[in-house]
Symmetry: C2
Subunit: 111 residues, 2 copies
């Protein structure tokens, strides 16, 4: 479970949908607002979020059909803890990068 | 980054080390306290945490050498946001499971 909700793409999609809540976003809008995500990865991420009940999907029967996504109440309740983790990661990224650079320079040692 | 710290095993290892902080744990103790983790997966998880500067590794030069792990200050600062996410996941697991069961029963639809 944590392996699904704790990923970068899930976190970013939930963030963008939370900004819009209780409104909806269409697939193309979401893709525009999650920089770097591929069509395939956005599709996989949304499918997983819908399955878990975090995102609701609404098909508007136009030609071609328009598909709208919004956070459910459950999805909205995730945004709090997830954003705390996001803020932590952004705050400490320089420190973590520095640690990784030092590890690359040091001789490797077994665990 | 989020893809590393948001995983189940990272979360569980940080939790167990946080319970012990500022004390240390040996590899075998950690393995005992993270149920279901394989030796290989614990090794990979610890290596990644050490690289990121979240865990400190101390080798005691005995025969055989004893290896001790503890959370760094950075690692300790992660436990707050990570535990909030853990609590969210535990609280909402039944709801998420129910949603997944419903999805299995329903006819599939394209994203």
């Amino acid at each position: 479970m944590l392996d699904r909700i704790g990923t970068k793409w899930t976190s970013m999609v939930v963030k963008v949908l939370a900004e819009e809540a209780p409104g909806e976003l269409r697939f193309a809008d979401l893709r525009r607002r999650v920089p770097g995500i591929s069509q395939k990865m956005l599709s996989v991420t949304l499918r997983s979020l819908v399955r878990d009940g975090l995102v609701a999907r609404r098909v508007e029967p136009t030609v071609p059909p328009a598909v709208h996504y919004r956070l459910t109440e459950l999805g909205l309740s995730l945004e709090g803890p997830l954003s705390a983790l996001r803020v932590w990661a952004e705050t400490h990224m320089p420190e973590i990068d520095r640690s990784n650079r030092l590890a690359d320079e040091a001789p490797s040692s077994p665990t």
